[in-house]
C-alpha cells in the first residue's frame, strides 16, 4: 500500500504541498492533474528519488521516508522508457531481478523474450515501454509507479500494452499508482482517484464519486464528463445485436455490452472482461419524446429529475431504471420538447459515445 501523510517536496520548479492520500494494498490508484501539477514530482518523491521536505511516506505499512530508493521495493516506469542504452534488452530486464526465472517469466508475459539480444535503439516505442515495464516488474516490487506510461504510444500499441499490464496486475496484485493528465489516456479509472493541481491534492476518493461530484467547477471542466458508471463489461462478438451486422469486421470485434445496475448499454472498446467504468459526456446524450430510428444504439425511457440551466446549455438529469443520466441540451430544445421535472423522455446515445475505462 501507499500512504502519504502531509508530504511536501520540491524538485526544480515543481512543488508538492501537504499531500495526503492512501492507496490500499493491491489497488490501482490514479493521479490526475494538468501539466505542471507536480505529478512526476509526486512519483519521484514516493520513489525516494526526490527528497520529501516534510511529512511521512509509508509503503506496505513501513515508514520509508528516510529510506533510499533501492530499499523501497518499488518500480517506476516513465513516459519514455529510459532503457539503458549500453545494455541489451535482456540485460535491461534482468538489471534488478533476483533470479533468472523471474526474468524469463516476466519477459514471456510481456512478450519481450524474443527481443532478448537486441539493442535498445532498434526497438519501437511500444516495444520499449513493454521492456521498461518488464524491467520494473522483474524485481517483483510491491508498488509500481507509472508516469503516463502510454501517452507516447500510438492508440493501437497503447491498448496492447495497457491490456498486458492490467492482466499481470490482476495476477500479482501489487499496488499501482498511475499518473496521467487525461483520464481517457489512463484507460481505466482504478480504485482510488486523486486530483492534483499545483502541488496540492484537491480531491480524492472513489473515481466514480470524483467524477460525478467534482469538488470544483475547475475539476469538472478538467474531467469534462458527468456520466460515470461503474459496472461490468463483456465483449459480445457472437451475440452481437443486429446493429452490428453489416458493419466492418473490426467494429464487430470491439462490440461490448456494459451492465450497470439494471441497465445494459452497448459500447465499443478493447476491454478485458470484468469490472470497469463507462464514461459518457453529457453533450453526447440526446433527448427526444420518442425513440429515434437512426443509428443511436442506446435508447432508454426515463423520467426527468431536474433541469439546471447553465448558459446556452441546460443540464437535464434523467432517471433511467434507477440510474441517473445527465444530458446537455440547448435551452431551445428544452422549450420545444416541453421538458420539465417529472416528464417522460427518451435518452439516447451512440455506442461510440460510451467510453470504457
Amino acid at each position: 500500500m501507499i500512504s502519504l501523510q502531509h508530504v511536501s517536496a520540491r524538485a526544480g520548479r515543481f512543488e508538492l504541498t501537504d499531500v495526503s492520500f492512501d492507496v490500499p494494498q493491491g489497488t490501482y490508484g490514479i493521479v490526475i492533474g494538468p501539466a505542471g501539477a507536480g505529478k512526476t514530482t509526486l512519483l519521484e518523491t514516493i520513489a525516494g528519488v526526490a527528497r520529501a521536505t516534510a511529512g511521512r511516506i509509508l509503503l506496505g505499512g513501513e515508514d520509508m521516508t528516510a529510506e533510499p530508493p533501492e530499499r523501497r521495493r518499488l518500480g517506476i516506469v516513465y513516459q519514455h522508457a529510459y532503457l539503458f542504452p549500453h545494455l541489451t534488452v535482456r540485460q535491461n530486464v534482468e538489471y534488478g531481478a533476483a533470479t533468472g526465472d523471474d526474468v524469463d517469466d516476466v519477459s514471456a508475459r510481456f512478450g519481450v523474450d524474443a527481443l532478448a539480444g537486441r539493442s535498445v535503439e532498434s526497438l519501437s516505442g511500444g516495444e520499449r515501454q513493454l521492456v521498461a515495464i518488464a524491467r520494473a516488474l522483474a524485481r517483483r516490487p510491491e508498488v509500481l509507479l507509472l508516469d503516463e506510461p502510454f501517452s507516447a504510444l500510438d492508440p493501437r500499441t497503447r491498448n496492447v500494452v495497457r491490456r498486458v499490464l492490467r492482466t499481470v496486475y490482476y495476477e500479482r496484485r501489487f499496488t499501482v499508482l498511475q499518473v496521467t493528465h487525461d483520464f481517457s489516456e489512463a484507460g481505466l479509472l482504478g480504485d482510488v482517484a486523486i486530483m492534483l493541481d499545483r502541488g496540492r491534492v484537491v480531491q480524492q476518493g472513489d473515481p466514480a464519486e470524483v467524477f460525478r461530484k467534482p469538488a470544483s467547477a475547475y475539476i469538472a471542466d478538467f474531467l469534462g464528463a458527468e456520466n460515470v458508471f461503474a459496472g461490468t463489461a463483456q465483449p459480445i462478438r457472437s451475440e452481437a445485436p443486429d446493429w452490428v451486422a453489416g458493419h466492418a469486421d473490426d467494429f464487430a470485434q470491439y462490440a461490448v455490452a456494459f451492465t450497470t445496475g439494471a441497465l445494459t448499454f452497448y459500447a465499443l472498446g478493447d476491454v478485458v472482461p470484468g469490472p470497469t467504468h463507462a464514461v459518457i459526456r453529457a453533450e453526447e446524450i440526446s433527448l427526444s419524446a420518442e425513440p429515434a430510428t437512426s443509428s443511436v444504439q442506446n435508447q432508454f425511457r426515463g423520467t426527468i429529475i431536474e433541469i439546471v440551466p447553465a448558459g446556452a446549455l441546460s443540464r437535464v438529469t434523467v432517471d433511467v431504471s434507477g440510474t441517473p443520466i445527465v444530458a446537455a441540451v440547448t435551452a431551445r430544445s428544452v422549450r420545444e420538447l416541453g421538458l420539465r421535472a417529472g416528464a417522460e423522455v427518451v435518452a439516447g446515445f451512440k455506442a461510440t459515445a460510451v467510453h470504457l475505462c
Binding site: 525516494g48 528519488v49 518500480g75 539503458f84
Partner: protein, 264 residues
C-alpha cells in the same frame, strides 16, 4: 534578392573560416618544414631530448590520472547536485585557467614550498616538490585539471539523471548506479576530457619552470636550446612537440566519431 544575400553570406563565412584555419595551420607547417624533418632524423641520438620526452610524458600521465581521480567526483557533483555555492565552486575550479602561468607556479611554491606548513611536512617525509618531478606534476595538475573538470561535468550532464533514478529503484545504491549506468554512458566523454587535460599538461611551461627547472621537460628544454644555441637547435625539439600534439588530437577524433546519443 534573399538568395543573393544568402550566397554572399556563405562566401563571407567561408572566407573567414579559411583565414582562421590558415592562421592556425601556417605556423605549424612552417615549423615542421624549416628543418624540423632534419632534426627528427637526429632525434634517436639526442639523449637529452629523449630523456626529456620520457619525463614529460610520464609526468603528464601521472598528473592526468591524479586529475581524473580528484576531478571526477567534483565534476559529478557539479553536474548532478544543486547545492548552495555550486556556482562558487565551479568558478573556483576555473581559477587556474585565468591565472598567468608563472603566477600559478609562484602560488604553488607558496603552498607547497619548503617554507610552507604543507611543504615542510612533505620535505620532512623526504618528498621534495621544487626541483623535482613532483613539482612538475603539481604544476601540470594545477593548470590543466580545470579543463578536465569542466569537460567531465559536460559528459555527466549529457547523461539524463533519470537513468540513475531508474537504476536506484531497481536496487542499486548511489555508487552502484554510478558504476553500472552513469560511468559506461559517460566513458567516452570522460576519456576525451582526460585527453584534453593530458595535452594541456604536455605543453605547459610557465608554471613548471618556476617550480622545477631541472630536470627539464620538453617545453623548458626547447626554450633552453633556443636561448643557448638559437633557432636551428630549437627547431627539432619544437617539431617533436608538434608531432606529440597530434597524438591527443587523433585520440580525440577517434573518440568523438563513436559517440552514442543518450537522450531517452
Amino acid at each position: 534578392m534573399t538568395a543573393v544575400r544568402r550566397s554572399v553570406g556563405t562566401i563571407v563565412v567561408a572566407l573567414i573560416a579559411s583565414l582562421f584555419l590558415l592562421f592556425i595551420v601556417a605556423p605549424v607547417v612552417g615549423l615542421v618544414s624549416s628543418g624540423g624533418a632534419r632534426g627528427l632524423a637526429t632525434l634517436a641520438s639526442d639523449r637529452e631530448l629523449l630523456a626529456s620526452l620520457w619525463l614529460t610524458i610520464a609526468t603528464a600521465t601521472i598528473a592526468t590520472v591524479l586529475g581524473m581521480l580528484g576531478g571526477t567526483p567534483i565534476a559529478y557533483l557539479l553536474a548532478r547536485r544543486t547545492f548552495r555555492g555550486r556556482a562558487v565552486v565551479a568558478a573556483l575550479m576555473d581559477l587556474p585557467l585565468v591565472i598567468p602561468h608563472p603566477v600559478a607556479g609562484i602560488a604553488l611554491l607558496l603552498v607547497l614550498g619548503r617554507a610552507s606548513p604543507i611543504g615542510a611536512a612533505l620535505y620532512q617525509a623526504g618528498l621534495r616538490v621544487a626541483g623535482s618531478s613532483t613539482g612538475i606534476v603539481c604544476a601540470m595538475l594545477f593548470v590543466s585539471a580545470p579543463l578536465y573538470v569542466s569537460a567531465a561535468r559536460e559528459a555527466f550532464a549529457r547523461v539524463d539523471a533519470r537513468y540513475e533514478s531508474v537504476a536506484r529503484t531497481l536496487g542499486d545504491d548511489a555508487w552502484r548506479a554510478f558504476r553500472r549506468v552513469t560511468l559506461p554512458l559517460s566513458a567516452r566523454g570522460l576519456t576525451a576530457a582526460a585527453v584534453v587535460m593530458w595535452a594541456r599538461a604536455i605543453s605547459e611551461f610557465g608554471a613548471i619552470v618556476i617550480l622545477t627547472y631541472n630536470p627539464k621537460v620538453v617545453s623548458v628544454l626547447s626554450y633552453d636550446r633556443f636561448t643557448s644555441y638559437g633557432m636551428s637547435e630549437a627547431l627539432p625539439v619544437a617539431a617533436v612537440l608538434v608531432l606529440f600534439a597530434l597524438v591527443p588530437l587523433a585520440a580525440l577524433r577517434a573518440l568523438r566519431a563513436g559517440e552514442p546519443v543518450v537522450s531517452s
